[in-house]
């Protein structure tokens, strides 16, 4: 028998796939936004593992997303002409996984040296790495340099995006609730006490970083095949901030809250489309107001809320 969580996961994937079958009947504009929401849920939940559960403030999540996105896109562009059309989902799946793994490897390379730092230093170094990754893509001819990669096959359907979101929520929730996952929360609550209890903080931090980067890479691959166009400017510092704001708005370490925040913040710009000129001004005021009034996040109630 499957446990409750696994049944939910299966249900979510089946639902995403079924809804996806009917997606031809939907308004393309709404469908596009729904896919954006799914991708942003993956990004927010994966950053939540690093920022929320493990308490390591990272400002470079867009960099890992870029690594996964470019890898998956290049993979599809190279293999698509070589293989028959029925192999498309297979190429896509392998490409996404490959992008995720390369992003995870980048996460490992970035994480091992930097996770010795704490607080705002870590934030700045991850920001620096995010910028370096962007500069590398911006100057590499094979990845389209400053003009970006174009003509990426448009394969990300509703089912892929929400199926991916369901899998990432499932994996990260199960991980955090497992015996091993208690270590992340221990590191977040008190590093010294955690290491005194036999938990190796660096190992846990790097693990969180690598897993977070993996899912960010998957989200990047989905994003690339959704927009069918990748430009390095799409992965700048602002994108990382967007994801951080989702995590903070939802309440650090609150998976349900973070998902709600990802949905709301993806929809917000669409609602504000009428006053496009003031959109980003409102957004920045929202960040400041949130920090002044409710730094523990909008959807964070209970004990943790009082402590924050």
């Amino acid at each position: 028998m499957l446990s409750g969580a696994k049944r939910l996961l299966l249900l979510a994937i089946v639902m995403a796939a079924v809804v996806s079958l009917f997606s031809a009947h939907f308004n393309r504009y709404y469908l596009g936004i729904a896919i954006d929401v799914g991708i942003n849920i993956i990004l927010a939940v994966s950053l939540n593992l690093i920022n929320g559960h493990t308490g390591q403030f990272s400002l470079g999540h867009a960099g890992f997303m870029a690594v996964g996105g470019y890898t998956a896109a290049k993979f599809s562009l190279v293999l698509q002409p070589a293989l028959p059309p029925w192999a498309q989902p297979l190429i896509f799946f392998v490409g996404l996984a490959f992008g995720g793994l390369i992003a995870a490897a980048t996460g490992l390379a970035v994480g091992v040296p930097t996770l010795r730092l704490r607080g705002d230093y870590l934030a700045i170094v991850t920001l620096g790495f995010g910028e370096i990754i962007r500069v590398i893509f911006q100057t590499t001819e094979a990845f389209g340099a400053a003009t970006g990669l174009t003509g990426i096959p448009n394969w990300t359907s509703f089912g892929w995006a929400w199926g991916g979101a369901a899998v990432s929520v499932f994996v990260i929730t199960c991980l955090v609730n497992s015996t091993y996952g208690r270590g992340f929360i221990a590191v977040h609550d008190d590093e010294v006490a955690a290491s005194a209890s036999g938990i190796n903080p660096v190992r846990y931090k790097v693990t969180a970083f690598v897993i977070g980067a993996f899912f960010a890479g998957i989200a990047g691959g989905l994003y690339a095949h959704h927009k069918s166009f990748l430009a390095p400017t799409g992965f700048d510092f602002m994108k990382s901030i967007d994801i951080v704001v989702m995590v903070i708005l939802g309440g650090m370490g609150r998976t349900a809250g973070v998902i709600i925040a990802a949905i709301l913040l993806t929809l917000l710009p669409e609602f504000l489309r009428g006053f496009a000129d003031y959109r980003m001004i409102i957004y920045s005021l929202l960040i400041i107001g949130l920090m002044l009034a409710r730094p523990q996040g909008l959807f964070n109630f209970g004990k943790a809320a009082q402590k924050a």
Binding site: F57, R116, G128, V244, D277, I281, I287, M291, L292, A308
Partner: protein, 303 residues
């Protein structure tokens, strides 16, 4: 050899501007222990203040005169000092007892607010605009070396401001109080130092230096836009960490070194494309190998 000297001069001119901005980061970090992300935007506001003040000052003084340029710069510094103090009172003061990350995110919010407000069509607009010539623009040739009058002004102004800053911090009452707050805030408060006014003063001083940096930058590159503070601000922050954050001579040294390194790297074929990444690579190397920075003291962490 001439090329080397030329690059060195260009690098030092850029580095001097980084140094002025880096001082603001380092001073605020010294008293409040947080990174004021909005500092790069104050630098941008300084440049814009200069471009709006210049025509007004030209009504009284002939355009492109050294006296006029000096007055524009002083006024812009005063305006930005006011803006810096206002940002601290409105956004950071209510958060002073909160966790550091809350303040860091608020600072990012303030920075985004300034950037997007200024990009709005009714404010400055997103398009780059030309910065007026504040001083007579001439170039001097020494053999094959070329030095422009704006570069000379950058050096002269920076040296003057650094000496003035050193005087304020080391010799005056308020400077002593600043150092006391940075050393131990509680003890300083017990000795009768008004913490709030010292923090306001620090923000004002740092913002004034950033405004001076903004005008010098605009004079050298003659084009300004509302996002000019983003990359420059981040690099100046790197310079502050490079020299040892919280350490004033360190910030100046870090700024100059960063400017020189970046300019030389820009001159090497193949590396020039990665110019923007170099500052961050330096940052990461410094934080990993010498987290206290070049001139900073290594502090042992107490549990």
């Amino acid at each position: 050899m001439t090329e080397f000297l030329q690059q060195l001069i260009n690098g030092l001119a850029l580095g001097a501007i980084y140094a002025l901005i880096a001082l603001g980061y380092t001073m605020v970090y010294g008293v409040l222990r947080f990174i004021n992300f909005a500092h790069g935007d104050v630098f941008m506001l300084g440049a814009f203040a200069g471009s709006f003040l210049s025509p007004m000052v030209n009504r009284f003084l002939p355009p492109q005169s050294y006296a006029g340029g000096a007055i524009v710069m002083l006024l812009a510094m005063a305006i930005c000092a006011g803006i810096g103090i206002l940002i601290e009172i409105l956004a950071y003061r209510p958060l002073r007892k909160r966790p550091k990350l809350t303040v860091l995110i608020t600072a990012i919010g303030v920075s985004l607010f300034i950037e997007y407000t200024c990009q709005h069509d009714k404010v400055f607009g997103a398009a780059p605009r030309k910065f007026p010539d504040l001083i007579p623009v001439t170039t001097w040739h020494f053999g094959q070396l070329v030095i422009s009058s704006t570069q000379v002004i950058v050096f002269v102004t920076t040296i003057f401001l650094l000496i003035a800053l050193r005087f304020i911090v080391q010799k005056t009452r308020v400077g002593t109080a600043m150092r006391a707050v940075s050393f131990n805030e509680q003890a300083a408060a017990l000795m009768g130092v008004n913490i709030n006014s010292i923090i306001s003063f620090t923000f004002g001083l740092g913002s004034a230096l950033a405004a001076a940096g903004g005008i010098l930058f605009a004079m050298n590159y003659s084009s300004i836009d509302p996002l000019m503070g983003v990359q420059t601000g981040l690099k100046a922050f790197v310079a502050a960490v490079f020299g040892g954050i919280g350490n004033l001579p360190g910030a100046a040294l870090g700024g100059l070194l960063l400017g020189v390194i970046e300019t030389f790297a820009g001159g090497i074929p193949g590396l020039s494309n990665y110019r923007d990444g170099i500052a961050f690579a330096i940052l990461i190397a410094v934080l990993i190998f010498r987290p206290a920075g070049l001139l900073g003291k290594v502090q042992t962490e107490k549990v």
